[in-house]
């Protein structure tokens, strides 16, 4: 006898529909799964067999063939256990479920028949909704996560034993409460008040946050670079509902959404030994990398000079386009990755800086080290902040301005940008043409013009200064970029080598 069930396989951060067809017929007892299953899917045989038996069902001693359609799509992960078990029960006549064709199922099974959570429940529920399913059955633990998908019935199933009751309509589970999307940063996140003194660094952080500009911090070890970067998400404007759902979807696909949505914007700080695939995503089926996990948040690259060159090169195109295109032989996926890039570096290999008489680095070593800062990725960096070892008085002094106060100014500046550029856009994304269209006072224009002619500025550096000045003007709440804003921008901009 033949039965089918609908399920999904995770591909990147989206789910693709899979139809599970189970045929049970006379022949030598056996259990085969076909349709490009990966190792985890193939092992579903053992889990399904044990789960059925332990829940009091009979495992048919007949020839069982499970086909996962479409046959050309590679299926990965243990999330197909539940659909296979259900279709098998239906095919062997142990389960009468008239609505089975209108329901989607996803979940991993334990040997005792209870369900285990799977990654990507949110994406799967959304795909089920798009595919016209009436309900989605997911493991109990994934229920609140799947309920975020909105207009679809979500059944949080704790064990396979409940299936007959569910099919007969005797058990009507209540709809799980969707996970609360926390838009605010929450009080548990580190606060900018921890940054004492260091007025220039604070200013650079604020401008970077206000315009979405990428930031490079250079300073000796222990000067507070990592501390500052970790506090950047707390001064960014809160996520809106759409953005929060995007962030939750990525976290869900990576299995990082258990129990609660982490508050505020993501902050990712990968180690410098990371591979290109780890940074931008890869593999087959493609898995999101750190760049995607940092979507709508901050990607912090500490010790920028130590990162593999190919990894940094791979980050270039995603930085420009806000998406990672992963092309594999079978398919091509685009994963979202609109993040703010923050990098930190020591001034020289020993970390003291050339100006320090104790610096023991050879000139060629310093040159080579700093040369890595001027690579293609550094070209995308707008702001350079020199971080200096804070003095004892500063460290022992009063706490700095708290994040909430800074965030208010940043949010106001972002609002001005959105009014000018359109929703969700910020100054860092301005095209050269748009940058040159900024309203500029005569004095500000003269300052920029003088620098342009004196220091042989490149066209790109010219536009970078304009974008920064526009952000500072937005922070100051003025319509026209004045001389004061332009001067600040010129001091903050990253210097070209020459």
């Amino acid at each position: 006898m033949l039965a089918t069930a609908r399920t999904f396989t995770l591909d990147g951060i989206s789910a693709r529909p899979v139809r599970v067809e189970v045929d049970v017929h006379r022949g030598l007892p056996g259990f085969a799964i076909v349709g490009l299953p990966d190792a985890a899917v193939r092992e579903a045989r053992e889990r399904v067999r044990a789960a059925l038996v332990n829940c009091g069902f009979e495992f048919p001693l007949r020839r069982i063939v499970v086909n996962l359609a479409p046959a050309s799509l590679r299926k990965a992960g243990p999330g197909m256990d539940l659909a296979i078990a259900t279709a098998l029960l239906s095919a062997s006549g142990q389960l009468e479920w008239e609505a089975l064709s209108r329901v989607a199922l996803a979940g991993e099974l334990a040997l005792d028949g209870s369900t285990r959570p799977i990654p990507g429940a949110l994406a799967i529920a959304e795909a089920a909704r798009e595919g016209g399913a009436e309900a989605i059955v997911v493991p109990a633990e994934n229920g609140p996560e799947a309920a975020l998908a909105g207009a679809i019935e979500v059944v949080a199933l704790d064990s396979l034993e409940r299936l007959p009751a569910l099919a007969a309509g005797e058990w009507k589970p209540s709809r799980p409460e969707p996970l609360p999307l926390r838009l605010d940063a929450g009080s548990d996140r580190p606060d900018l008040a921890d940054l004492r003194g260091q007025p220039h660094l604070r200013h650079a952080l604020e401008v970077a946050a206000a315009g979405g500009h990428s930031l490079l911090m250079i300073g000796p070890p222990g000067a507070g670079k990592s501390l500052a970067a970790a506090r950047l998400p707390s001064i960014l404007p809160p996520l809106d509902a759409v953005e929060a759902l995007e962030v939750a979807r990525i976290a869900s696909a990576c299995g990082r959404l258990r129990g609660a949505v982490p508050g505020g914007r993501p902050f990712r700080a990968p180690h410098h030994t990371i591979s290109p695939a780890g940074l931008i995503g890869g593999g087959s089926p493609p898995r999101p990398g750190e760049a995607t996990l940092a979507h709508r948040g901050v990607l912090f690259l500490d010790e920028l000079c130590e990162f593999r060159r190919d990894a940094l090169e791979a980050l270039r195109a995603p930085l420009e386009s806000g998406g990672v295109a992963i092309a594999r032989a079978a398919s091509r996926r685009t994963l979202p990755c609109r993040f703010m890039l923050v990098a930190a570096s020591n001034p020289c290999p020993c970390g003291r800086g050339e100006a320090d008489p104790d610096c023991s680095c050879a000139p060629i070593a310093v040159q080579r080290y700093q040369g890595r800062l001027s690579g293609a990725l550094a070209d995308r960096i707008d702001i350079l902040a020199v971080v200096r070892q804070p003095s004892a008085e500063e460290i022992g002094g009063a706490p700095g301005e708290p994040s909430a106060a800074v965030r208010e100014r940043v949010a106001a500046a972002r609002e001005r940008q959105e009014r000018r550029l359109g929703p969700g856009r910020c100054n860092a994304e301005m095209t050269p043409a748009a940058a040159r269209g900024c309203a500029l006072s005569a004095e500000a224009g003269a300052l920029l013009g003088e620098l342009y002619s004196r220091q042989r500025l490149s066209g790109r550096a010219h536009d970078r200064a304009l974008r920064l000045a526009q952000t500072i003007a937005d922070l100051d709440g003025v319509e026209t970029i004045g001389a004061e804003q332009m001067a600040q921008a010129l001091a903050l901009r990253r210097r070209d080598r020459g």
Partner: protein
């Protein structure tokens, strides 16, 4: 103008030196104070006997076999020209030295050495591992001396040399003397500077095109730098440094010697401070150099910048006091980060401070 022309014998000497590179390396290197200038005083036969006795005949034979057409073809292919001690273009100042190069291979404008008198050129040398202070002084000295019409001579090395060239090539004429063929960009990181000097200034060497640098070729080119200019200025140098060889060679030739004073605690200011103690001219700016070379007041440099308001003066004072970062200036003066940034940017535009690619500010020589 005198044509760049060289006789085959002198050119053979240059090609012979390139062939002898590894052999001389073995006998010339050792402690600071290389023997290379003494070795280069020798004639071809004595030099071969000293450096490569076993293969002397073979090397000599190879060089003798080179024809005039071969030299011309190689020079043209490398975009170079040559002049020799028997020609008109060869600078008279080099003739003073017993170990003067027989031929000079040049790349760039031969007019820079045409009729070049010792008092028309200044050599600026110093440590490769220089501090930001040294770099800034070297750049300003280069810029102002070139602007005052001097030819600035240096060695294209990291640190002081490169900064002096950069300053000079922006404002006027500069000569880079290399320890390798003039068509070889060494150090490679200075390739863009090397290219620019080749186009707007002059690159000189006593080695033929394509010759590789050896340890001994650097002290050897130092003697050319010392002889070319009427005054050698040491900006920064450790106590036992190659720049001091140049200073010694200059003193031996009876040239003026200048040194830029530095902190007595700084390792790289020990060299110039020692020179000052030994009677070298104090060089605080380009005016000191001009006064020492041409006589006090013969040529004046006006270096006063535009007037500053009190806020900018305050910030400038902080930079003069040693604050190099925007953060440091803001903290010392109690300014907000934005005010400090704006003030520093204005000072930079007015020319009172410069900012490195690493974001550190330093004071220029521009007077208030």
């Amino acid at each position: 103008m005198a044509e760049p022309r060289a006789c085959p014998d002198c050119l053979r000497r240059a090609w012979l030196l390139a062939l002898l590179g590894p052999y001389v390396e073995k006998i010339a290197s050792g402690e600071v104070g290389s023997r290379s200038p003494e070795l280069l005083r020798l004639g071809n036969d004595d030099l071969l006997a000293a450096a490569a006795p076993k293969v002397a005949a073979q090397l000599l034979g190879r060089v003798e076999a080179l024809s005039e057409a071969h030299f011309a073809a190689e020079l043209t292919a490398a975009g170079c020209w040559a002049c020799c001690r028997h020609g008109d273009l060869y600078p008279d100042s080099l003739r003073d030295a017993a170990d003067a190069p027989w031929a000079l291979v040049g790349r760039g404008d031969p007019g820079l050495i045409d009729g070049l008198e010792p008092f028309g050129a200044v050599t600026v040398v110093g440590a490769r591992r220089a501090t930001s202070y040294g770099r800034e002084v070297a750049r300003e000295l280069g810029r102002e001396l070139a602007a005052a019409g001097m030819v600035v001579v240096s060695g294209l090395a990291f640190g002081i040399d490169g900064c002096a060239h950069r300053g000079a090539v922006d404002a006027g004429r500069t000569i880079a003397v290399l320890g390798c063929g003039p068509d070889v960009a060494y150090p490679a990181a200075h390739r863009s500077l090397w290219r620019r000097i080749g186009q707007e200034g002059l690159i000189l060497s006593e080695l033929p095109p394509g010759a590789a640098p050896w340890r001994w070729t650097f002290p050897a080119r130092n003697r050319i730098m010392a002889a070319l200019a009427g005054m050698t200025v040491v900006v920064e140098a450790a106590a036992r440094s190659g720049s001091l060889i140049t200073a010694d060679l200059a003193a031996d030739l009876g040239r003026d010697l200048g040194a830029v004073p530095g902190p007595i605690t700084s390792r790289v200011s020990a060299g110039p401070n020692n020179l000052l103690a030994g009677g070298a001219c104090v060089v605080r700016d380009a005016q000191d150099v001009l006064d020492a070379m041409l006589g006090p007041g013969m040529r004046q440099i006006d270096r006063r910048g535009p007037a500053l308001d009190p806020r900018l003066t305050e910030v400038l004072t902080a930079v003069e006091a040693g604050e190099s970062s925007c953060d440091g200036v803001a903290a010392v003066l109690g300014l907000s980060g934005s005010d400090a940034a704006a003030a520093l940017a204005r000072l930079e535009l007015l020319g009172y401070v410069t900012c490195s690619t690493m974001g550190l500010y330093s004071r220029t020589l521009l007077g208030v």
